[in-house]
Point group: C4
Chain length 260, copies 4
């Protein structure tokens, strides 16, 4: 296994398909969003991408079975007149620089094969001081998409900003192949799996793809996480209190360590 | 030498062969186990794998001769009705991510060439608080192997656990080639060459392969190591005591260092 | 996208062309210089180089559009009897060792295609104690260029000095292809975008290429930067003063952190 | 430039040639030794090896000219009945793991082309407590060479010792191609360019190759270095003394830095 490759499972016929990409990254925003879409739409898997640039371990699937880390392509047939969807989710991104370009190049090949007209990539944008509802930032690879951004609440990324990883590189390579694309980045503190940011970008994805979908389960996910974090924080506080007590009332352990 | 390659020494004819893999890693559990099997079974070397992704040094063999780091394939012809064995041992694993995939891919090619039906990979699983007999954990790449685990004392690895290195990757790539496999991980504190953990997984390997083998020499190895460690610990304690004495009774050397 | 490649936009016919290279690096000297040349000469873009060894992110162009990081070739048709120019500017240099050689090799291929007679690479040379006008250092890949250096105020780099990155490698590879070249390095403290050092090397470039160009806008750029730096320094001083005050008059915050 | 390659300058006809390799490494022992041999024998350059795995900078040659880092092959025609010599010196070793194997593989190809019968690689062996004349250690890639070691004062490297870099890898790869070789390692403190260790291994090289050569210039080199080191040490001591004085008699500069 020397190269990134794609194993095809099915060759769906798709009308005017759009690709939506959500991979692990800052706050796991992209991954949460693509997983949610695939589950709620009951989208069907049709191809799997493997790469020798993914981390060198396997994972154990929900069926308790070893499998290579991968990126998976799903499709969803929309109602008449609406674009069909291809959704890409995954365990991981490439761990090497040239692997990042290799993987994004291969995803672009899939776009060409299925005649994909537009790409939407999803990710997170770190704001450690975030104290309100996450904003959504966007970057586009073609001026045609400006009109859409202007009528939305989305903020355009500033000139010179980097967009890191597959979410950015894919749109850069796609552009060389005349495929239009937009990258949506949800504001997130970054250190948590941020369902709130995922919801914020999915709202925009629904508008872009004319899709109808209930996003309320993401509120529940966020609520659960929040409660879990609060519990952890409390435990940590208590631990800190106990630790402080111990330190005050016990002799200096270090000085004794060698006399054992 | 730009690619991983295999140098063939002999082309054995094998009946229903199973591959057993033990390479260096956590606690050296896999390596100890494969070395033990090869020595006790007097298995015969038939192929050697070299890779430009192994560390960039040579080693000096027991015959006092320089040789490249490698992974070596041995075979063992079992009694009638029992599966023949291929055993893979080695000096090292790949030092680069893509090299890890390249090596595991080439081992899979060997499996296909010799029509190997099942792979058993062996390794360690770190538990720094280990204070009793090491447990054995397992991960499988096909549900057929569940039955076997259920009737044993093995614990299944949890969903989402990573299995790192060749022990995992080989089973991931093998799965894509319809070769079934199981990974056995022995609990180990990790920082020692752990013959006790190796014995624990070899017990399970014997059951899986219907092999009969005396494992008692691993007890001796473990006993020797334990005594050596205790001696080191004592010396360290004494050193610490002396160091403390010296610190208390000598002037501050640092202040004088520039005045010579 | 597995290899560095060049996308051609136009195939200009050039007379006795010379290549001038300025990429990001120490003090951004080379980049400032090549950007300036291209803007002031209104040079025309004719080819773009992309590489999987550039950083794995895209940038947002001045038109607000995502694009891959790249190196861009421009040409400028000079008056009769003077050499035409090819100018290479870029966002980035390769992030891997072998990528550095790959990119420099491909730029050499462009030189051969357009029958380029001489290469001038531009960069910075760190001098952290710089307190006067930056000197210009040079290294050449052919003794023919010595004559030119001797009649200028340029200082030759010492024997054994390394010239790092594309500015150096390109001249090393070009030499193997019988293309002459000179590397000009402007002295710079290194931590700022140094328009002063850029001006110093551009003066020499003008002499080498018989080009006429007003460099005074670089003085303005330098002046602006200087004022900005002074403002930052003042703010930092003030912050430091306030911080000191706070530390003296507030209780030890750390001790309270766990008691909330 | 994507691969390691060799540029041929001349195709000498050599009788029973032996290859002697000395590249930069610990204490620069190998490099000093090969440089010395080439200079004293007035050996002739016939091929140059370039690699995209060498450091990504050029150097400035003694003629003041930029050149790529390289490894250079020289030959020396010996008197009748004695073996001719090929000597390999160089600026650098590969900076990547797989590059190390690639370069050593290509050197082996040169050995096959010129029908080289024996390889001697030279390097250093760190001993930070070295207080007497450096010993020479050796590792061989074929038992035939044992006889030679046994009648010399050389110490055999212990079983399991690693021999790092080209000095080791070359003999590992050569062995796969049935070329015999020995690695000679001179004891060195490692942090200096150690002409004394170089002399110690060259003595053995002369015996192995039946070569007659005056090694006394290495004593002078060592003496010069020693005096230089002593002067540096003295300066450092003085600096330390002055620094200490300054610290005692000046106010705490740090406390004032923010108040300007």
């Amino acid at each position: 296994m020397k190269k990134t490759f794609i194993k095809s499972i099915e060759d769906p016929v798709l009308k005017e398909p759009q690709l939506i990409v959500g991979l692990p990254g800052v706050g796991n925003v992209g991954k949460i969003a693509s997983d949610y879409l695939i589950n709620e739409l009951n989208a069907k898997r049709f191809a799997v991408l493997y790469s020798p640039h993914f981390p060198y371990h396997v994972t154990i699937s929900e069926e308790g079975i070893i499998r290579l880390l991968n990126n998976e392509f799903f499709y969803f047939i929309s109602e008449k007149k609406k674009p069909d969807l291809v959704i890409l989710k995954g365990d991981s991104q490439s761990q090497t620089i040239s692997g990042q370009y290799e993987v994004a190049g291969l995803i672009t090949d899939v776009c060409k094969k299925f005649n994909i007209k537009k790409i939407i990539t999803m990710g997170g944008y770190v704001n450690t001081n975030l104290d309100e509802d996450p904003k959504v930032f966007a970057a586009i690879n073609h001026p045609d998409l400006n009109a859409w951004i202007e009528k939305s609440s989305i903020i355009k990324c500033e000139i010179g900003s980097p967009v890191v990883g597959t979410a950015g590189l894919l749109l850069g390579i796609a552009k060389l192949n005349d495929i239009k694309g937009i990258c949506l980045l949800g504001e997130t503190p970054g250190f948590i799996s941020d369902a709130k940011a995922a919801k914020a970008i999915l709202k925009q994805v629904l508008a872009l793809t004319e899709l109808d979908l209930d996003l309320s389960k993401l509120d529940e996910m966020y609520q659960e996480l929040k409660e879990k974090l609060e519990r952890i924080e409390e435990i940590e506080k208590e631990k800190g209190f106990i630790k402080k007590l111990k330190e005050e009332f016990s002799p200096d352990v270090k000085d004794l360590s060698y006399l054992g």
